[in-house]
Structure formats: C-alpha cells, structure tokens
Amino acid sequence: MTAFPTARLSVVAVVCSFATAVAAQTTDGRRSGFLDMSPQSQALQKDDTANPAMLWVLDGEALWNAKAGRADKSCADCHQDAAVNMQGVAARYPAFSAEHNRPLDLQGRINACRETRQQATPFAPESKELLALSAYIGKQSRGMPIAPPNDPRLAPFRARGEALYKQRIGQLNFSCANCHDDNAGQKLASAVIPQGHPTGYPLYRLEWQNLGSLQRRFRGCLVGVRAEPFAYGSEEYVELELFLMSRAKGMPVETPAARP
C-alpha cells in the first residue's frame, strides 16, 4: 500500500443499498449465474456498500473525469455525464467499428478512444484502469436488457463466435456447449455449472479475489479444458462474446456482478 499523506473528505457513499433489477430467469428457461450462487454471494452483489466491485467503479468514475494523453482530454470532455450518455452502451456491445472493420468489445472501444481521441497509451489488458473504466461504464447499463445491435456487418463474426462455442477443444476435448448447454445446472467439483450468460462483466470473482473481465473468464475455461488460451484482445474472444451476448439477448445487465 503506498503512503497517503493526508486524510481527505472521502466519498460518503451510497445512502441506500441497491437492489439490482435482476430478473435473472427468463420464461424460455435462460437463467443468469446469479441464481446458481449462494444467498450470501447474491447478497454481496446486491449491496453496493459491500460489493468490492464498487471500488473499481469509483476508480472508473475518477478515470472518466481525468484528463489524459497528449490531447489532454478526459472521457467526460466528449461524453459528458456517463450516467446519461453511457446508459445502454454496455448492453449493446460488442459493436461494429468502421475504423477497424471488425467488432470491438467495450474494452477495445475504450482503448481505441484512448489511442485516437486522447492520444494516450492504451491500457494493458486486465489492468486496474481498464477494468475500472469498463466497470463504471458497464454499471450505467445495469438493469437494462442486453440488446445486441441489429447490424448485418456483425453477422459473420457472430457466426464464428457460435462455431467456436460449439467446437470441441483442448486435451479434455470439451466445447463450451458441452458444459454450458448440455450440462448447465449439473455440478462440476461442487460448483453448479451456469449457463454462461455474460450478464455481469467485469465482475468480482471470489476465486480471483479481484475484478476480472469476460476474457479472463474465457481463459480460465480454456485452461480448464487444457487448451492453449488465446491471448488477451484476440478476435476470437470478441467473436465469442458477440455470440454470447446474442444468446443472452433480453437478459438484464448485472454489471458489476459478484460471482464465487
């Protein structure tokens, strides 16, 4: 812990605890991993005064307002109030970027803005800063239904994501579908296998003792089936997320969630 010389008036935080609008179970049988965890972990997610993920959200808010790069601009300089202008954004990502001629996930978008608009160095994958900003922006969509864009340019990428989801991989030769479609609700080493809807990323995972991105979770699964994980930022991850967000269409965003 670095030294902090002075006391300062802190954020006297949220007055009331947030009950997140987690509908969580749709009528077609899709269910959020929220329902598969213990009441204590559910309570943790619902309490903004106790969920460690909120620490990153606060950091993200500070970063949103901090000037950066050679352009000496903050996110707020262009986007003003995140609570207004970032509403619904995370719910419709990944989205197609004409500049890059491919879809970007939210983190990719943040880094693209950093590079081109702020003329600053992009944040490293899984860095505190990138996670904090993603959590802060993601939280502005909390409670809103996941709304994948109806953009025909995304179709081939989504199809590749779906193919990867169904492809057997690794020494254990499992596909995502083998666990998260065929065996969701069953147990794997004492933990219930969720359906794998990315409703709450980035999230605080007790296993990690840290906030982490969906890509970190993907890598964990790939290692789990003894496959070589793709590098952070790989197109495969964005395509897979694109497919999964489609699969989770209509389910409420829970960012920043908690999971065991």
Partner: protein
C-alpha cells in the same frame, strides 16, 4: 492510494444505534500464496483498522491474513454527537490510509 468506500447514515437520531460499513481495496497478501517457483508472495496486509469520532476511538480491529482481500468491516456505534468520523487502515509497512466522513446527529 487505495480506494475506500464508507457507508454512514446521512442523519441519525440521538441515542440511535447506527451501523457503519467500510470497504477498502487491498490484496491482503497472506504470505502463503505460492509463486510458480515454489516460493511465496511475501505477506502484505492491513493489520489494523481504527475508527474515531471527534478524536475518540469508537472501534478498532486487529486483522490477520485470514481476513479476505478488499477488507469489509462493519460495526455499530451509538449516535451521541455530531462530528467527524476518521477511519485509518494501517498496513505491515506501518503506512496508514485515512478517510473521513461526517456524522450528523439530531
């Protein structure tokens, strides 16, 4: 600077028992986490947490590696007087982080 989140009721009635919740960002490195090479990441935890109201201690905790990362501590106090709540987290290096919050008692 570690991010801290403090929750104090904005107003309290005199004599009311209020709950204060605190959360601070810190890995609470236990000293028992193995590195790849067989050695361990060295211990680095917050070992003491103190809360005062108008300079007088109202709560104190001695923490050990068994306290989870990003320590959450919640306790109560009787609302007697308005004033300044000061929170201190002290780590193994003896460095302290301090935060404050106002307590309004009517």
């Amino acid at each position: 600077m570690a991010r801290a989140l403090i929750n104090v009721p904005p107003k309290a009635k005199r004599g009311e028992v209020i709950e204060i919740k605190t959360l601070i960002s810190h890995p609470m490195e236990t000293g028992y986490r193995p590195k790849g090479d067989g050695s361990f990441y060295p211990r680095d935890i917050i070992h003491k947490f103190v809360c005062t109201l108008n300079g007088e201690e109202i709560f104190r905790a001695d923490l050990y590696p068994a306290i989870a990362a990003n320590p959450f501590i919640s306790f109560t106090t009787v609302a007697r007087e308005s004033g300044l709540l000061m929170f201190s987290w002290i780590d193994d290096r003896g460095e302290a982080q301090m935060e404050s919050a106002k307590l309004v008692v009517e």
